[in-house]
């Protein structure tokens, strides 16, 4: 009626936006395109992609935004479209839902009974007088609510339960919209950044990697101390923690020993323990054995530091691993022997007499890896003013789902009339979901009504 003045194109768009068919297409579509981002590793440097896919495919994927798919305009567009669709669907149906929610009890009309999905007739011929009281008690014991009204020929009972479940889907949808709003707030007004602080040092700038920019803080964070415990006899970390102090205008204003699962909060920012590492690479104690002279020589080397052992013979550690091929700590050594040329070979700490790859005139042994005493602590720093909105939305969504699953709307209508000293009960029932569960409930009520007869 009021639609008559509206442009038919707008009407058609509105109809599309409020259709559940679109919802289903968007849900499956979003699921489908999300897969792409799990198959193509996200946010790698372009050089890696060109190596993997070749330049042509790289350019094509890049154009489509496949390398940061969850933030590309069309992906975000699908989510926004889903939110719009959800809102339109809800607005379209809400008036009807409220009507159903407030709707008065239906008129009990005998001719309607036989059209109800479940229908039974019961004749009571014993204990007729006490029956109305018993029926009352029975209906009360079912929970839910019931109303009685009488007319000249008999009494009508309307019992119903779970009407509020009608709201379930709408509460769920509202929760989802709130989650999306929370995510939007977080994206617009928040950030996620990293910083590494060496023990004893301070930082007042953090780095937002995804936006590739520095974010200055209006205070300083100092890492007083970092500690890591390992499970005995393993390299499995048990606990790692950083003693952080927040310094503002030269004064310590806050502090906490943070660890994984226990962050520090200050001025809307949260500092999480994310990783750690040595502040510098370790150094290596190496023994070089001269095969001819049978003389040993100990050297301590830093990574990439070239050391002369004799005239024109140098040794260098190019790489190291805490556990190389399952044989424990090892270094990769480059030995330059004047006339023999240079050679590279791994040297193990725990494997005895593994000399096969040593130099021609020398044998090399790794005595010890000297870990530096200083660590850096890796912190994740976030500001997310939307996070509580997200939790609120999640909570509302869970309530809505629970309502929709554990409750369902059903009614039982009874017409009770006297007929020649007997009582005739017409019983009809309908449910708006879970028909099979309701059938059982309905039959149970019928049995109990019948049983009410004999107990006098």
């Amino acid at each position: 009626m009021e639609n008559r003045n509206i442009n038919p194109l707008i009407l058609r768009i509105r109809k599309l936006l409020s259709s559940v068919g679109l919802t289903v297409v968007l849900l499956f579509g979003l699921a489908g395109v999300s897969i792409i981002g799990t198959l193509i590793q996200q946010n790698l440097p372009p050089i890696e992609y060109t190596q993997r896919y070749g330049f042509k495919l790289y350019s094509f994927f890049n154009l489509l935004g496949f390398f940061d798919i969850y933030h590309v305009w069309w992906f975000v567009g699908i989510i926004v479209l889903l939110a719009v669709n959800l809102t339109f669907c809800t607005l379209e149906r809400l008036p009807g839902v409220f009507k159903r929610l407030k709707q008065g009890e239906p008129l009990v009309d005998e001719s309607r009974f036989k059209n109800l999905p479940f229908y039974r007739e019961i004749v009571i011929d014993k204990g007729v007088k006490a029956f109305p009281d018993r029926l009352d008690r029975l209906l009360r014991s079912l929970g839910g609510k019931f109303t009685v009204n009488a007319d000249s020929k008999g009494k009508n009972y309307v019992w119903e339960k779970g009407r509020v479940s009608i709201l379930g889907p709408y509460i769920t949808h509202a929760g989802i919209i709130i989650i999306l709003i929370g995510a939007l707030i977080g994206n617009l007004a928040g950030f996620r950044a990293n910083v590494r602080i060496v023990e004893g040092e301070k930082a007042n700038v953090v780095y937002d990697v995804s936006r590739a920019k520095e974010i200055p803080l209006d205070f300083e964070v100092k890492c007083e101390d970092f500690s890591v415990d390992f499970y005995p006899g393993t390299e499995r970390p048990k606990r790692f923690a950083s003693d952080l102090k927040v310094i503002e205008d030269g004064k310590v204003v806050a502090g906490k020993v943070i660890e994984v699962n226990s962050p520090l909060k200050y001025k809307g920012l949260t500092f999480y323990q994310s990783d750690y590492g040595p502040a510098a690479p370790p150094s290596f104690e190496i023994m070089v054995h001269n095969i001819k002279t049978e003389k040993d020589m100990d050297v301590v080397l830093n990574l990439e530091q070239e050391q002369e052992i004799q005239n024109d013979v140098t040794i260098k550690v190019i790489d190291y691993a805490q556990n190389y091929m399952g044989f424990g700590p090892a270094v990769l050594v480059e030995l330059n022997e004047d006339s023999q040329g240079s050679s590279r070979f791994p040297v193990f700490q725990n494997v005895k007499d593994f000399d096969a790859h040593s130099g021609k005139a020398y044998r090399v042994k790794l005595t010890k890896i000297i870990e530096p005493s200083l660590y850096f602590t890796g912190l994740q720093v976030t500001r997310d003013p939307g996070v509580n909105v997200v939790w609120l939305g999640s909570f509302i969504m869970s309530i809505g789902l629970t309502l929709a699953f554990f409750l369902y709307h059903r009614m039982i209508l009874l017409r009770v009339k006297e007929d020649n000293g007997k009582i005739v009960v017409l019983a009809g029932g309908r449910s708006f979901k879970n028909k099979i569960g309701f059938e059982r409930e309905f039959m149970k009520v019928i049995e109990r009504i019948k049983a009410a007869e004999g107990k006098l």
């Binding site: 559940v20 499956f28 979003l30 996200q42 889907p169 994984v260 999480y272 699953f405």
Partner: protein, 291 residues
């Protein structure tokens, strides 16, 4: 007996239970059915006892002075921290849901399929078997327990929907031919199966939602971001979108019957990828579930 031995026993008892269920379906003898249920219960007993013993074993990996259990350290007793343990917990959840459905619907063919799924899961788990190990810091949290329990209830529900979907498709085919053979006549009416499919999926969606929300809350608490499009997160969202799509197809588009049964079966493939494919084939936050 250590937990691994208990799990091994339970694996073979599930296989036995499954075989007797199959025998029951072929022979239609009611004794076979009772024996099958009994065997499944024995399997579940060993499975449960194994999980409890496993919790104790996990506790024993800690230094002596750290073995006291407080509320904030309840997670130490909940031994689901790697692929081996998670597959066993998956089998356990599936069997628990089976017993609930046995009480409600009493469908022997479902018993056959679900004990079979539990057996396959346990058998697959044995490839990765190993002794309990202490937890890395990220996993030292009660969020872990809540997140894992809710997620696995969802997975198990989707496994049940898958089994019911298959029963539906079998029954639907047989309805076309006039005489139903012994095995088929034992299956419940087609509308009961259909009803069950969407009820368990709705149940699964609720728990998957809780699992995702709890996982997000934990990630936010431990790492400072509730969502980072990690492959596991993304696949849980894909699974969620898929089943939510299913519910809308059922409730508002009023899809019925075969199409929904096919969706329920396909959905489990998505679930399995979310659960195992991500851990075994992709890398990310849940990689500790890989070995």
């Amino acid at each position: 007996m250590n937990s691994i031995e208990m799990f091994n026993i339970s694996t073979f008892v599930y296989l036995a239970g499954s075989s007797v269920f199959l025998w029951h379906l072929i022979s239609r003898g009611s004794n076979a059915r009772i024996i099958a249920i009994f065997l499944t219960a024995i399997g579940a007993l060993f499975n449960t006892a194994g999980l409890i013993v496993r919790g104790m074993e996990a506790l024993r990996t800690l230094p002596v002075d750290e073995r006291s259990i407080t509320l904030s350290k309840l997670y130490t007793l909940f031994p689901v921290t790697n692929l081996y343990e998670s597959l066993i917990f998956f089998a356990w959840s599936t069997i628990i849901i089976y017993f609930v459905l046995e009480a409600l619907y009493s469908i022997a063919a479902l018993g056959f399929l679900l004990t079979l799924i539990a057996f396959v899961s346990m058998l697959f788990a044995s490839r990765y078997s190993g002794h309990a190990e202490p937890l890395v810091p990220a996993l030292q949290s009660n969020w872990l327990t809540a997140h894992v329990i809710t997620s696995f209830l969802a997975y198990a529900a989707f496994a049940v929907a898958f089994a019911a979907g298959i029963l539906y498709l079998i029954k639907e085919r047989s309805n076309k031919s006039p005489e139903a053979s012994g095995f088929l006549s034992i299956l419940p009416a087609i509308n009961i199966i259909e009803n069950m499919i969407y009820r368990v999926i709705l149940f699964g969606v609720i728990f998957l939602t809780l699992g995702i929300v709890l996982g997000a809350a934990w990630a936010n608490y431990a790492w400072g971001s509730y969502w980072s499009w990690d492959p596991k997160e993304t696949w849980s969202l894909i699974t969620w979108l898929f089943y939510v799509g299913f519910l809308h197809a059922r409730f508002t588009l009023e899809w019925r019957g075969k199409r929904l049964a096919i969706l329920a079966v396909t959905g489990f493939v998505v679930t399995i990828f979310c659960y195992l494919g991500v851990n075994l084939l992709l890398s990310g936050l849940h990689s500790y579930g890989g070995e």
